[in-house]
């Protein structure tokens, strides 16, 4: 299980970094989302991976899962969700004001703008 989790965090982070470095805003937003997924799984695994262990005190249990990372992940999910919503709206606003979806606003107007204008 450790290998699987480590691989999934690594692959998601790599994809996220690749997408964040793209020049259009949409891949950047998807990349940020992937990075936040990766960090959520990473945070979760920092409480050590255990199967079937209770988080709340149980006299019969022989071990406990750490509940704190789960609370951290919950907070991180909520924040990442709000941030994603915000950055999508901002990307749309930039697309509207700069005339294209390049992160620097370069590259002229998109073809569909001209069609829509014509």
């Amino acid at each position: 299980m450790e290998v699987l989790i480590a691989l999934s965090v690594g692959v998601m982070t790599a994809c996220g970094v690749y997408l964040v470095l793209r020049a259009s805003t949409f891949p950047v937003v998807v990349g940020l989302t992937l990075l936040s997924y990766a960090v959520n799984v990473f945070l979760f695994s920092m409480g050590r991976l255990k199967v079937g262990a209770p988080a709340v005190i149980d006299p019969l249990a022989d071990g406990y899962a750490d509940p704190l990372p789960q609370a951290l992940v919950l907070t991180a999910i909520v924040i990442a969700f709000a941030m994603t919503a915000f950055v999508i709206v901002l990307a749309l606003k930039a697309r509207d004001e700069l005339g294209n979806d390049h992160v620097d606003g370069k590259g002229g107007n998109l073809p569909d703008d001209k069609e829509a204008g014509a």
């Binding site: 936040s36 990766a38 960090v39 945070l43 920092m46 951290l72 709000a82 915000f86 901002l90 930039a94």
Partner: protein, 514 residues
Amino acid sequence: MMHWVIVPVLLPLIGGLLQLVARRFGLPAQRVLGLALTGGLMAVAIQMLILAQAGDTLVYNLGNWPAPFGIVLVLDRLAAMMVLLTSMLALAALGYSSVMRVDEQGSHFHVLFQLQLFGLNGAFLTGDVFNLFVFFEVLLLASYGLLLHGSGAERTRAGLHYVVINLIGSTLFLFAVGALYGAVGTLNIADMAQKVAAAPAERSGLIAAAGLLLLAVFALKAAMFPLYLWLPQAYANTSAPVAAFFAIMTKVGVYAIIRVHGTVFGEQAGVLAWLHMPWVLAGGLVTLVLAALGVLAARNLREQVAYLVLASVATLLVAVGLNRAEALAAGLYYLLHSTLLAGAFFLLADLIRRSRGVASDRFGVVARMHGGRWLGIGFFFAAVALAGLPPMSGFIGKIMILDAALAHPWRWIVLASTLVASLLILVALVRSGSFLFYRPQEMALVEDSQLGEPPRKSALWIIGSMLVTAPLLVLFAGGVMEFTNETAKQMQQIPEYIEAVLGNPLSGEEQRMP
């Protein structure tokens, strides 16, 4: 008495909610409420400074959970100083935006402003790393809204870069905090300092990696090389009061380095002690030189002031990186000076831009302006102070940092880059000042068609009241330095900090007693 510590966090939060309601009564009501709230916050901050002045580290257990399990707020001299500085800067920025009607350009300016204060004060007061992350997110989300306040394609472009880079920074913050938690099993800063000191040798590599990743996040907030490229465009393109208020935002990054790294990787940490110091010093020196070149190369006044903010934060990083109590004390003195002066300079640049009309604040277009005399005096005053010339406070701050640097093995590099950077900044400011204020006088006969609006008296008063802190900091340098010395010493007494946080009895029992 005990509850004072949480008031600076709660007051802006409730204030933000009230502003949402006050929106129905129009902007004048919001302005009055905002100024009243920020003034109240300043009064609270002064009260907290008096509390912290006694030298104790005051700890507030949220929800009355004892320290390593619950989240704590910690008030010491440094936190009290930062909260007071923030409220002073906020009051000036809010006053300016009310006078110049900047808040009309978009909605929810006052709400976001209060929430920004909420995030800042929380970040200064918290004693928990994950809570620090949450407050960082609060202040960042509010700052995104404030940065984009008003409109314009340039502002949106710079805002997009700022938002994306800070979101990546937040992700890295979570990675670093997660790795630290995985390695030592705690999030409380005091507890973490203890656990890192006691960590087995095979863990130290992981802890070092997580600590340096966390340093990268704080360096991003503080705009340290090579993570400073977002700052000049973002600050130069936003509205003036927001840029002035953001002069404190980079200082939050420096504060977090002093607080988290200074405590966790202090001298008790064994092999990991002072792990971050060479990085902070080297990054600060490179940033300082590049910022000075940026000041020289800037194409308009606002961009120049943005690079001046960068130079001031780089000087601060150098002071922290020297790793001596005297250097830190001098750095904190410099922090007070540079934050207020940089804020004033942003507001002044806005007035100059407005009074030059279509020429805006570009260098390269000669234009006459209204009220050039007062603006020129203000510019001269601010430039002398920020370039670090005597008799202003910047000179005292810098000379004390250099004095402390003499004992450091890198002293020649520190001296050379600080002095060369100061010279470059001085040359650039002399050039832009004479361009803006002397050359138009030669062309006084040219038609007045392109003049902008004259500067408002009330705006000049606000800027004047900020500028006057420079000579005040010189006049009261003895008292202020005594305070920053005590603060720097307190930051080095890590066992006392740990003792105060972890040995704190539950406050509820005392509260129930009449």
